[in-house]
Symmetry: C2
């Protein structure tokens, strides 16, 4: 398209929208047109919400969950079981576990998976914090709720080894999780079944 | 999901993202997580771009195109053919025409289609402005580039009637087999229209 047709402000907006997962160049244009039509109801509030969340939402220093309070709402929830620590890859997986209601304990967000091919090593993940927590605050069981992928299982194996001296039972989700499946896309029934069938790592 | 897991700032962001076309509740969550990971590169700039575009991008008073200058870049372009006025439903269709390089003339954005069922009448569209332009500024031809739907054809019929006295030739896009289209996959209506409008090979 000739550059003259779409002004620079609009083009920049479209380019940024197109970077979001789920939106391509053409759907970003549709989204921009929609937003311009809903200036008061959606576009203005969205600009504010983005700015507000970018400033206020931080990683919880305890578990790595994203929230505007620290400790986060999950860590601050007194009704949860302190004896159980559920290790997840990222915040999306924490949300998936919560959506399924599959974990009544605490969480620990690793911030990724070990991946030699992508150059992600132990120092790039929040593993030190996990081992401290497993040793420290009355934890009986660490559940490794990681993807059933090569990287996920490599990470689970590494964590199981390094948690061996922490005096906790280390379990992982059962192989009810489909091979190659991402937690965030799983149905609640499968997640719950996999939690129930967890076994020693 | 329990409300406690996702904080209010984050939940509001997800709810607003989910309103955009192409994003549902789950992809809005993925988008929010992506944005929080790309705070400096995407999230902040997007908040600014939304606010900036919401304030600066206006409908061109001449043609209805959206731009941060008025008249818009298309109306201000001196190389375009003033004799041709291409009528489109909305700005997205103007962009589609420009992407195809299909119109070297000017545009007129109606802002919708006549739709008795949805309560959209002539006064809701920019029809008065179209008739003034067709009468006024050296226009020879008005091309009705409207969708081949019931509403699109109703609107084209209405406009053709009201442009009859303007002393311009009124045309509309041809209907037929799309380029690259297999006959076997076409609907009966399109095939019948293409047969009726057949022309010498």
């Amino acid at each position: 398209m000739p550059t003259s047709t779409i002004g620079p402000e609009l083009q920049r907006l479209i380019d940024l929208l197109a970077k979001m997962p789920g939106l391509g160049p053409r759907s970003a244009k549709r989204a921009a047109l929609y937003l311009l039509k809903k200036r008061e109801q959606v576009m203005g509030p969205l600009a504010f919400a983005l700015d507000d969340a970018a400033r206020k939402v931080k990683a919880c220093e305890t578990c790595g969950n994203w929230d505007s309070i620290d400790p986060c709402a999950v860590c601050a929830d007194g009704t949860r079981d302190d004896a159980i620590l559920c290790v997840v890859q990222d915040v999306g997986d924490l949300w998936a576990m919560e959506r399924a209601g599959a974990n009544k304990g605490r969480y620990h967000v690793l911030g990724g998976l070990l991946s030699p091919l992508d150059g992600v090593g132990p120092d790039d993940l929040n593993i030190g914090g996990l081992i401290d927590r497993a040793r420290g605050d009355g934890v009986n069981e660490v559940i490794l709720a990681l993807a059933a992928t090569v990287d996920g299982q490599t990470t689970a194996h590494y964590l199981a080894e390094h948690l061996a001296s922490a005096g906790v039972s280390v379990t992982r989700l059962s192989q009810g999780v489909p091979i190659g499946g991402e937690l965030d896309y799983l149905d609640e029934g499968t997640l719950t079944a996999a939690m129930k069938a967890r076994r020693p790592a």
